[in-house]
Structure formats: structure tokens, C-alpha cells
């Protein structure tokens, strides 16, 4: 389908996955893909520390994180007509302060946060931290600060706990502004037109198992719409890897150094073997989970800068173009 339609206005993309699957890289690629499709995006991260500015060529080693205020990661415009990418952090404490101030409770807000009383309140009403963050995201979405909001979920916590917080809180808290907030957040999460969860995994056995489990729990327990699944880190296949190096050298009219044929064969064997494993896992994921897949290449250049993000974003765009419009629009399954 047309990427510009995919990143249609008022969309919230929630990127989730276990640690180590490259969630932040995928977040950057999605934002950049939206920008290439002419849609402005706001990236929201929730841990106060992120490699995002570096991926957009913005950070110095001393100042690598994001702040509570919006920061421009990449200015749009130019010949390709791309749109702005901005980013910010939303932490529970920050969101609470803002929330209390917005609700005329600024008198106690500082005290509640600095006295650590938020810990007590958060224990009394589990999920309140997540709700504060999601509530703020909802507010930004409603204010239409950007065409697309891409939310990078906490790595350590489980996406399910984070996204289930609204439902859990509605059970614990029956009245008051937090109840309203949770209700609002739940409405947004359950609105498949406005909000999609993008699950990220690696083409390996345990990550695939965990992703499938997460996908079903999210549908059952939260009722969110699942967008395409991102399989990150797939080795590009190269033609000719099965060739015998000595024969290939003869064919090309090149003389190999002693031992070089063995090295080339060993390296080729390694890649072929990994590709075989990965293909098996990608296939298994397709069998277990009837969701379209966006497959992103493994980057041998592990220092991810603007060029790498651009390359990944183009892969995202290619995959979106190949999507069947009906499947991907998050129609309930």
C-alpha cells in the first residue's frame, strides 16, 4: 500500500519487543520512513536515555540522551520533500508533574515527586506510571503535534504490562481523574484506526517464540491492533556463495594467496548456515502468526548513523508498499 496512506495523520505506532532485538533502531527507521513519505513524526522514548540522537547524527558523546522538551532530530524539506522528525522523552515523574499542574494541583506536585510519594501511590495503584506516560502520549496525539507518533516502549519491562496498565488501573481505581485518564488511554489503544503496535523480533528461536506469545497476549488482554511484525537483522543473501573459491578464482582469472580459499569458503559457509537458520525461523513465524512481516537487513556496519537509518527506512517503505492494504489496516482478526 501507499506509505503516505500508511502513515496517515493521527497515527500512533507503538514499537515493542524484548531487549536486544533492536527496538530503537526500528523506531528510528519507522520515523525516517514516515518522513520520507512526507509525514512528520515525533519519537517518544520513556527511559531518559536513548541512542536516537546519535542515529540521526545529532549527538556528542557527552550529551547523547533526549530531554523532556521536543528536539529536532532531522529537519525536513529539501528536494525529496521529507518531513521533520522530532523526539522527546516522557518519564513517569515528568508526566506526573505536568499532569498535576494541568489539574490545578501544582501546590502538591513537587512534594509528591520529591518525597518519593509517587512510589507509594504507584504501588497503591499499579500501572499508574505507565498510564501517566500513555496519557501524555494520548494528549500529544490529540494535539496533533506530528502526523505520526512513534513510541519506543520500555526495554526491561514487558510490553504487555505496559499496555495492560490502563485495563488494570480501571479495576483498581474507580473514580477520579486517573480513572478518566485510564479510560481515555484505553479508548486510544483499542482504536485500531489510530493506534497500532509494531512488534519487533530477531529471526531466532527464542525471540520468535516470545514474539508469538506476546502477540496473542496483546490481542487477548489488551485488544490493541497489531501492525506488521518487524523481523530485524536478516542477513542479505549473496549470489555465488556456494561456489568453490578456487574454481571461482580460476574463472575470474585471479590467483588466490595461500590459505585464502579456505578463509573464503569458511566465511561463505557461515553466512549460508546463518541464512538457513534465519529462513527457517522467519517461516516458522509466518506459520505461527498470521501477520504481515517487515524484514530488515542485518547491518554489518554496527555503528548506526544517518546513512544506515536511511537504508533501513527504505526497507520499511519497500515492505509497506508490498503490504496488502486490507491486511495491514489493522482490521480485527
Amino acid at each position: 500500500m501507499n506509505p503516505t496512506e500508511y502513515f496517515a495523520a493521527s497515527r500512533l505506532l507503538i514499537v515493542a519487543g524484548k531487549g536486544g532485538v533492536g527496538k530503537t533502531v526500528v523506531t528510528a527507521a519507522l520515523a525516517r520512513a514516515a518522513s520520507m513519505a512526507g509525514r512528520s513524526s515525533l519519537v517518544v522514548e520513556v527511559e531518559g536515555k536513548s541512542g536516537l540522537p546519535r542515529m540521526f547524527g545529532q549527538a556528542t558523546p557527552e550529551q547523547s540522551g533526549l530531554g523532556y522538551d521536543e528536539q529536532l532530530l532531522r529537519r525536513g524539506g529539501g528536494p525529496d520533500g521529507s518531513a521533520d522528525i522530532t523526539a522527546r522523552t516522557i518519564t513517569p515523574d515528568g508526566a506526573l508533574l505536568e499532569y498535576l499542574e494541568d489539574h490545578g494541583l501544582s501546590r502538591i506536585s513537587k512534594r509528591l515527586v520529591t518525597s518519593g510519594a509517587l512510589d507509594v501511590v504507584a504501588t497503591a495503584a499499579p500501572g499508574i506510571r505507565d498510564i501517566l506516560v500513555l496519557g501524555k502520549v494520548k494528549q500529544l496525539q490529540r494535539a496533533a503535534v506530528a502526523d505520526v507518533i512513534v513510541l519506543d516502549t520500555p526495554a526491561a519491562g514487558h510490553a504487555i504490562t505496559f499496555l495492560r496498565s490502563a485495563k488494570g488501573l480501571l479495576d483498581a481505581v474507580k473514580v477520579g481523574p486517573i480513572y478518566t485518564q485510564a479510560r481515555d488511554v484505553l479508548d486510544l489503544l483499542e482504536d485500531h484506526e489510530r493506534c497500532q503496535v509494531i512488534l519487533v523480533t530477531l529471526p531466532e528461536e527464542t525471540p520468535v517464540n516470545e514474539l508469538v506469545e506476546t502477540a496473542f497476549s496483546l490481542e487477548d488482554q489488551v485488544g490493541v491492533g497489531l501492525g506488521p511484525v518487524v523481523v530485524n537483522g536478516i542477513y542479505d543473501d549473496l549470489d555465488g556463495l556456494e561456489a568453490d573459491p578456487a574454481a571461482a578464482a580460476e574463472q575470474a582469472g585471479v590467483t588466490l594467496r595461500p590459505g585464502e580459499a579456505e578463509v573464503l569458503a569458511e566465511a561463505a559457509d557461515f553466512r549460508r548456515h546463518r541464512i538457513e537458520l534465519q529462513t527457517g525461523q522467519v517461516q516458522r513465524l509466518s506459520d505461527l502468526l498470521p501477520l504481515p512481516q517487515v524484514r530488515l537487513p542485518f547491518l554489518f556496519e554496527s555503528e548506526i548513523g544517518p546513512a544506515e537509518v536511511d537504508a533501513l527506512a527504505r526497507s520499511v517503505l519497500g515492505a509497506i508498499e508490498a503490504l496488502d492494504a486490507e491486511v495491514q489496516l489493522g482490521s480485527p482478526t
Binding site: 502538591i108 526491561a156 486517573i178
Partner: protein
């Protein structure tokens, strides 16, 4: 003086704590360390957090519970495995400190208390450390290996016992219960306003639960505090070794470096750094030169073979660059590199393949 090798830690220490971010193979590494100890004739137990089912399968166990299960294997020592259950560990801890059964039951039934193990950040970390302490004090295992939750900030769990103590001894608690105890009449209108405002935000029920909990808990804070202090001392004991597990990806290395810095701040040294999933280095050629060769042979099979080799040369050299700063940070701790394995771990043989990479 040279730092002890990983094998020495496994043979000599009483406790090994495996820390690091998620998805780096921490749990499997912990299991392999315990297995190594069993092979050295020791009685070892590994405590895992949220293990993949695959690990229990690999150990030949139906599942892992919060009681140690013995793993069958042809080693002179013993290998046991268990899973941390945050809630039951906390229940047991409350049981240790409760004055009588009535107090214990009041707390266990309280809704606020039931939320703590799931909702109060740092609780899982604390319970991992508590379980470790309990095993060290109350069992005669020669070696206890604990996996830790995928914590980004090491201080989260170094501090976790103290944080829970502070929480239980919280000012807000004193504020909330003061009016009921009647001893702190000076706690005045302002406080009541504060509590009422909190109640307005989250609902009065919620505050009532919290107050009931703190009342039920009254008198146990001291015991908790003393035990938390002993747990922390144990973590810093010479008999305890901290092993940092990472992968060579740039972002996980950054996290591991942050983690190591915080450990150092907390007065704990990393005794060994294990880096899983390293790309193999097939020769010592330079990626750039190989890539040029590949370009000049583009379109031929040999060109592809060179392109492929250049890819792995680049990956391996980037990984070493990523690793350099972290290796400095944890020096003189040895760095153990474990390459990508050809297949996933499904059985003890799989664990032995990792063992071979870790120790040979």
C-alpha cells in the same frame, strides 16, 4: 597480580551474580557456570529469572519452580536449578519478620501488599538478592549462581534492599497513619490536605489500602532494614563475584558500560566480562581492502565471496571497537568472547558447547 580467570571463580567462590541487559544470553550463561562447577565436583545451584522454556528443556526439567530441582548429568558434583518467584520470596520474608501469624495473615491479605511484588520498581531485583542471601545462609550449596532481572541501572538492585526499607519507613506512611495513632498531633491540617489531594487523584479506596498495609506492617521495619543491610554486605563480600554478560552490539555495550560504571560507584568490581554472540573473525584482513577487491570483481562468484568476507571483517572489527571501552572499564577482569553458535541450545550438549567456548 593477575585477575582470576572465570574458571577460578567457578571453582572458588560461593556466589556468582550474572548481570546485564536483556537478550544477551544471561540466563543460559548462568546455567553453564553452575554446570561447570558441578563438573568440578561442587554442589551448585542456579537461580534464574523468567527463563525461556527452552532452558528448562535443555536441563531436562519439565519446568522450573521456586524450589531447587536436581539436574541429571554425568558430573562428579551436583547441579540444581530453580526459578525466582518474587511473590513467594516476599511472602517468606514477611513471614520471617512478622511478630505472629495474625500479623502475617493481615499483611498477606492486604491489596496494597499484593501489588508490591508486581508494581514497586526494584522489588524483583531485591527478591533476587534476598533469595541469594537465603540460599547462602540456609543451604549448604558450594556455589550459588544468580541470574538477575534485565536491569539497566546496576544501582537499581544494589540499592533495592535499601529502597524497600526506605519505602516501608516512608514519610508518607507516617503522615498517613499519624492521625490514627494519635501520637503525632503536630501532623497537621497541611498533611491531611496532602493526603486528601492524593486521594482525589487516585481514589480514596487506594489510599485506605495503603494505610491499612502500613498499619499492618508496623514494627517490622527494623527487621527488614537489618536484613537488607546484611544482604548488601553479602553482595560486597570477597566470596561473591560479579560477572557482567553482554553482546557486542553497540547499544548493549553502551548499556553494559553504564551498568559497570554504576557497579563501580556502588563499590563492586566486575570479576569477569562475558561477551556472547560475537561474529567470527575468519582472518586478519581489513574490511576496506577486501571490499575493494569485491568491487573490482563485482558480478563474479569470487566477488561475492570477497563481499561476504568483507562483511564479516567489518562486523568483527566494529565489535572489537565497541568492546574496547568496556574492557577498559572492567579491567583487570578478563574478557571472555563467545562466538555465535551454529544452533540454538536444546539440551545439555548445547550447554556443553557454550561451556567449551567459555573455558577452553
Amino acid at each position: 597480580m593477575t585477575a582470576p580467570a572465570l574458571d577460578e571463580l567457578v571453582r572458588d567462590r560461593r556466589i556468582i551474580v550474572c548481570g546485564g541487559s536483556g537478550g544477551v544470553g544471561k540466563t543460559t550463561t548462568a546455567a553453564v557456570l553452575a554446570m561447570r562447577a558441578a563438573e568440578a565436583g561442587r554442589r551448585a545451584v542456579v537461580v534464574t529469572i523468567d527463563p525461556a522454556k527452552r532452558l528448562a528443556d535443555a536441563l531436562g526439567l519439565d519446568g522450573l519452580t521456586d524450589e531447587p530441582s536436581r539436574v541429571d548429568g554425568s558430573w562428579p558434583g551436583e547441579l540444581w536449578a530453580m526459578m525466582l518467584d518474587t511473590k513467594s520470596t516476599f511472602d517468606a520474608l514477611v513471614g520471617k519478620h512478622a511478630a505472629d501469624d495474625a500479623q502475617l495473615q493481615r499483611i498477606l491479605a492486604n491489596r496494597f501488599y499484593k501489588n508490591i511484588s508486581g508494581a514497586l520498581s526494584g522489588t524483583q531485583e531485591y527478591m533476587a538478592m534476598e533469595k541469594l542471601y537465603e540460599l547462602a545462609e540456609e543451604t549448604d550449596f558450594d556455589l550459588i549462581v544468580v541470574d538477575t532481572p534485565p536491569t539497566r541501572n546496576a544501582l537499581d538492585f544494589l540499592d533495592a534492599p535499601a529502597r524497600l526499607s526506605r519505602f516501608l519507613d516512608h514519610r508518607l506512611y507516617r503522615l498517613m497513619t499519624a492521625s490514627n495513632r494519635g501520637v503525632l498531633r503536630a501532623v497537621n491540617v497541611a498533611t491531611q490536605t496532602f493526603v486528601r489531594t492524593v486521594a482525589r487523584v487516585v481514589g480514596a479506596d487506594v489510599i485506605d489500602d495503603a494505610v491499612a498495609f502500613f498499619q499492618a506492617f508496623d514494627g517490622m521495619e527494623e527487621g527488614f532494614k537489618r536484613r537488607a543491610k546484611r544482604v548488601q554486605e553479602r553482595l560486597r563480600d570477597d566470596d561473591t563475584a560479579f560477572v557482567l554478560v553482554a553482546s557486542p552490539r553497540r547499544d548493549t555495550i553502551d548499556e553494559a558500560t553504564f551498568f559497570a560504571e554504576k557497579l563501580t560507584e556502588g563499590g563492586i568490581a566486575v570479576r569477569s566480562l562475558i561477551v556472547n554472540r560475537m561474529h567470527p573473525r575468519f582472518d586478519d584482513g581489513l574490511a576496506e581492502a577486501t571490499a575493494q577487491r569485491a568491487d573490482s570483481l563485482a558480478g563474479t562468484d569470487l566477488g561475492s565471496l570477497y563481499r561476504n568476507l568483507a562483511d564479516f571483517q567489518l562486523a568483527a572489527s566494529r565489535e572489537e571497537e565497541n568492546l574496547a571501552g568496556l574492557a577498559d572499564e572492567v579491567a583487570p577482569a578478563p574478557v571472555v568472547r563467545v562466538p555465535f553458535l551454529r544452533s540454538d541450545v536444546h539440551d545439555l550438549e548445547g550447554l556443553r558447547r557454550i561451556e567449551a567456548e567459555l573455558f577452553d
